[in-house]
Symmetry: C2
Subunit: 165 residues, 2 copies
């Protein structure tokens, strides 16, 4: 059974390994393949961090935080990643659903993704399935490892219809 | 004569005073009125910083930086502010023009504003005049001091037509 729990220091190594897999392809995340463990963990663990686990296996992780300070802080931002060996099990969707409820519980009114890679059609479809709309298209805003400069999407979702955890 | 030059430590006090004026209204910047000098200066001076000066008076300041790390780092982000006593002199436009050339010189391919307050019609018109298009609308993403939650705009401009400094 897969469960989603707050991450602790004990998960840092597993989360770092998943991140390395994710960034190696250069097709979904802004971080480059040479990003250091220290840089990544400082970034990831500066937010509210969760892991999807099955037994003692970490299958994925996500973070949620305010997208802006102050007058923009009622909009959440989240990032998700799934271990390559665990793809196709619906973990991305589970984490997305969890993150929406978590964001709602923390008082956020909406959730925004700032740079969804347009060529990552599976992700775009998943976010749409979970209620996100494309708020805008940023021409050539992502430097894709194999396709060069590709469009990125800003996706947005109101949380009015989400129940708290 | 107004000139735009790189900011130094010597400009920090003047820039802080302008920032305080700008955030007091709560209608244009995400920072709240109680933002500390330390927080502001750490944020502002983490980017490339410029000031618009006339004699020894600082009339405005702007910053330019990468909007994202790594695979999103070819898109610049900029923020501008003008002293209340110096408004209506075209300083915002001068700084915008300068920032576009500066961003181009530093190798950026485009410039993006992440959270332009939709009710700030003068700013929206100014950015449009300088070639920015509305890439998307974020419903209720800005908590305006007097109007409550208002839409924010993502604005984007390619730098292909901009000459280097």
């Amino acid at each position: 059974m897969i469960s989603i729990i707050p991450a602790t220091e004990a998960h840092a190594d597993a989360v770092w390994q998943i991140f390395r897999e994710v960034i190696a392809a250069g097709d979904a995340y802004v971080f480059e393949a040479d990003t250091s463990r220290e840089t990544f963990l400082a970034y990831w663990f500066a937010a509210y961090v969760y892991v999807a686990i099955e037994g003692d296996q970490v299958l994925g992780s996500y973070i949620v935080k305010a997208n802006h300070p102050g007058r923009g802080s009622h909009v959440a931002n989240a990032s998700y990643m799934v271990a390559s060996a665990a793809r196709g099990k619906g973990i991305g969707g589970l984490m997305c659903e969890h993150s929406l409820a978590e964001a709602k519980s923390r008082g956020f009114r909406a959730m925004q993704f700032n740079i969804v890679v347009s060529t990552n059609v599976a992700a775009v479809a998943l976010w749409k399935k979970h209620g996100f709309a494309i708020a805008g298209t940023l021409p050539g805003a992502f430097r894709h490892e194999t396709s060069g400069y590709v469009d990125a999407l800003v996706m947005f979702r109101d949380l009015a219809d989400i129940g708290s955890l």
